[in-house]
């Protein structure tokens, strides 16, 4: 059983956050709320999304696992106007998802969750650098790096956080000291390199005004955590690094 009403804007930005990595995903609903865990087809990037029950206008669910075609779902939710409420209901007879937006009714066929790419088990990572900063700062660093290269570094060094990229001709570097970010803790210096192909699409889903907590290690995945719509949903990204060739 699953029946819920949710603000269209929150639903849209939640889908966008997951759509960065996948076109279809498994959506888990239970009494706590709605959650998604998905990894991109190359096993390089992973997203976890949590929308707690009290972020919905109304929410009722038993444990269910829904296989969702995100591209289609995104198109449907795109029909909503700002401020609309989207009603979702799993039809127990047909196993389809009934979507209602201001008089518009859409019945969406779900996909077999078994057929969806299974995410790997990722061990707990001990990432020594933790920095909290505005989404706008990260997006700016990614955008600038994209002008010179196809990969970039995140790092902590001497109590400051940096983003840098080295191209064939040009270089980019953004340094943010302890005082210029919201907070910074670093047990040791750290630096890892990442594909901009992934970061650029992640950047589109990171709200400029969100506080992003970024965890970085040395040649380790980077984790970025932030909230959507002032805390109504939690998003966490994990991205595998590139190892620098000597």
């Amino acid at each position: 059983m699953f029946q819920a009403k949710i603000n269209a804007g929150l639903l849209q930005s939640s889908i966008d956050a997951v759509g960065v990595f996948v076109d279809e995903c498994k959506v888990r609903v239970d009494s706590e709320g709605l959650s998604v865990k998905a990894v991109d087809p190359a096993n390089v990037g992973m997203v976890e999304l949590d929308v707690p029950a009290d972020s919905f206008d109304s929410f009722e669910a038993d444990d269910e696992l829904l296989g969702l075609n995100l591209t289609k779902f995104d198109d449907i939710i795109g029909m909503a106007k700002a401020g609309d409420v989207v009603a979702l209901e799993l039809d127990p007879e047909t196993g389809k998802l009934k979507i209602q937006i201001d008089g518009l009714r859409y019945t969406l066929s779900l996909i077999d969750p078994e057929s969806i790419h299974q995410e790997p088990n990722v061990p707990d990572l001990d990432l020594p650098g933790e920095v909290v900063l505005a989404g706008a700062e990260i997006n700016r660093g990614i955008k600038a790096s994209g002008m010179v290269s196809d990969h970039m570094a995140f790092g902590v060094e001497d109590k400051s956080f940096y983003m840098s990229a080295e191209g064939d001709q040009d270089d980019v570097r953004v340094d943010l000291t302890e005082d210029e970010v919201i907070s910074l803790t670093a047990e040791e210096d750290a630096r890892s390199l990442f594909s901009l192909d992934y970061l650029e699409s992640m950047s589109k889903a990171i709200p400029s005004d969100a506080q992003v907590t970024l965890y970085v290690g040395s040649d380790f995945p980077v984790r970025m955590e932030f909230e959507l719509q002032g805390g109504d949903a939690d998003v966490s990204y994990l991205l595998a690094p590139r190892i620098e060739n000597e």
Binding site: A42, V44, Q118, P120, V122, S195, D219, L238, A240
Partner: protein, 539 residues
């Protein structure tokens, strides 16, 4: 079986020169694969899915290079550079360093896991699927060693280039499981599924193989006819022959299952059901359930047959089928039956024809039994008068051999022949045509490779060039300025004035005044005309 072990063994197969050595090595590979033999028997030939399957990877060199770039960190220019150096995308992948991009886990280690990844790749379609396809392929390459990278890249493009074809796998299955090679051959012909044949041989032996049979819903290759002169007809076929009209259409295999559901397949076993709704309707109203029939679809206008090109226009337009249906109407002419509640392949044509007349309703193509040259000439005249291509003559006591081109079926066409050739390269145009590939390099089938016979640059409409450029852009293996090399995937039908000898091309022949007649979408590069045919026509 681990994919790295598969790659290591295939590398050995590639290095071996002699057929016997290759077969023995493949037999060894199959035995070692144990219950992964179904996948391995296909992979070793560069096939991912069974022959009858409608699954396709639909990945060209451009997408592969993008995946290699993502997995290796090398830029696409660097990759194209290495492809030029090595001359092969697989060798290029083997030469590049992987392992810089890390993953969060997962990945594919066994041949079965690689196969599952290919299934995901084939399932990706529509908006955004390119990105997902690139990433699935990248995932296969990320942890790959040299040999694995080489064969993943080649599998993705559908060509293993290790000198192993269906014949080698047939012999290797016989050797590995100690079964009769004829039984393997028969099973392959009937199932089009070398994986299933190998697995059956492994588990159930020869008895299991002999129990395999044609099934409704799984297309088999159609039986083919040999070109012949009318004069020699009775030498090949005996005192009496079945003589039929030869249509300028496209071959179609009709499957009707026990519930009356109709599926149509091309000679390449691609499903055509959606493209030919009017044919489906004709079959539904005329034909019995639970049969497999062989026939030809023919385009007509006001009851007159239209050239093959018109029909292709219909088959190509998957999306506006109903609209084209108004312009070109299509009918089916049935001339053989392969299955009616039971397999009929081993029955004689005479018997099958009787069954067809009971099962095929009003859609049966006429057939005459003729024992004199006068009779044959009469049928030929009638066929040509009705606007058809010529005649077929068939041996009355011959069985149906899928995929075989023998002397039991003869095609007799009065017109000069056209050639079906592979397109292996092209040149960007000049002036008004700078954005278009305006000239195409053509090749025929030599002994294992493709040999050039010239270029075609005439016969195209502007619309043809737009469409062809779009198609071929995805098939560019490497491009050096104006000249580009294509992955050979597309078959052109070309006309010409005559065939000349020429030192300029590696076939030793050149076509005089070649002109483009159309794309043979129903044909595979494996089916293009051979150097032997060129030699025959030259004489």
């Amino acid at each position: 079986m681990e994919f790295t072990e598969f790659a290591r063994r295939v590398e050995r197969v590639e290095e071996l020169k002699g057929d016997h050595e290759k077969t023995a090595e493949v037999a060894d590979l199959l035995s070692a694969a144990e219950d992964d033999v179904d996948v391995v028997a296909r992979f070793v030939q560069g096939r991912v899915f069974p022959g009858w399957s409608q699954h396709k990877l639909d990945v060209g060199p451009a997408l592969l290079y993008e995946a290699i770039s993502l997995a290796s960190g090398a830029s696409e220019q660097e990759i194209e550079e290495v492809v030029r150096e090595t001359g092969d995308p697989g060798d290029a992948a083997a030469k590049l360093e992987f392992g810089s991009q890390q993953t969060l886990g997962g990945g594919a280690d066994t041949v079965d896991e690689v196969y599952r990844a290919f299934e995901r790749l084939a399932d990706e379609s529509g908006e955004g699927s390119q990105r997902a396809k690139v990433r699935v392929v990248a995932d296969l390459l990320m942890d790959a060693d040299d040999a694995s990278a080489r064969y993943v890249a080649r599998l993705v493009l559908g060509e293993m280039r290790v000198g192993v074809g269906e014949g080698t796998v047939r012999d290797a299955v016989a050797e590995a499981y100690d079964v009769d090679v004829e039984a393997v051959e028969r099973a392959l012909m009937l199932t089009n599924d070398c994986g299933r044949v190998a697995e059956t041989a492994r588990v159930e032996g020869e008895k299991g193989l002999r129990a395999l049979d044609i099934e409704v819903g799984r297309p088999v290759k159609p039986m083919l006819a040999q070109q012949a002169d009318v004069e020699d007809l009775f030498d090949d076929l005996g005192d009496e022959a079945a003589v039929e009209w030869k249509y300028d259409g496209a071959r179609v295999q009709v499957h009707v299952d026990g519930t009356g559901e109709v599926s149509l397949y091309s000679r390449r076993m691609e499903e055509l059901t959606e493209s030919l709704p009017d044919v489906v309707e004709q079959i539904e109203s005329e034909v019995e359930d639970d049969v497999v029939l062989d026939g030809e679809v023919v385009a007509t206008e006001d009851g007159e047959p239209m050239p093959f090109q018109e029909l292709l226009r219909r088959l190509r337009r998957k999306y506006d089928v109903r609209e084209t249906q108004e312009e070109v109407s299509v009918e089916v002419q049935l001339f053989d039956v392969l299955y009616r509640g039971e397999a009929l392949l081993d029955e004689t044509l005479e018997h099958r024809r009787r069954v067809l007349e009971e099962a095929g309703g009003d859609l049966i193509s006429p057939s005459w039994r003729e024992s004199s040259m006068d009779g044959v000439r009469r049928v030929e005249r009638e066929s040509l008068d009705a606007g058809h291509e010529g005649i077929m003559a068939k041996s009355l006591d011959s069985t149906y051999s899928p995929g075989r081109r023998g002397r039991n079926w003869l095609k007799l066409k009065p017109e000069p022949e056209t050639l079906d050739v592979a397109v292996v390269g092209g040149e960007w145009g000049e002036g008004r045509r700078t954005d278009l590939i305006g000239s195409y390099h053509l090749a025929v089938r030599g002994d294992g490779d493709l040999l050039k016979v010239g270029n075609v640059a005439t016969g195209f409409t502007d619309e043809d060039l737009d469409r062809l450029t779009e198609t071929f852009e995805d098939l560019v293996v490497q491009g050096d300025g104006m000249e580009v090399e294509f992955e050979p995937k597309v078959v052109f039908e070309v006309g010409y004035e005559e065939i000349q000898t020429s030192p300029e091309y590696d076939s030793g022949f050149a076509l005089r005044f070649p002109r483009f007649l159309g794309v043979r979408r129903d044909k595979d590069v494996k089916d293009v005309d051979s150097l032997g045919k060129l030699e025959r026509l030259y004489r």
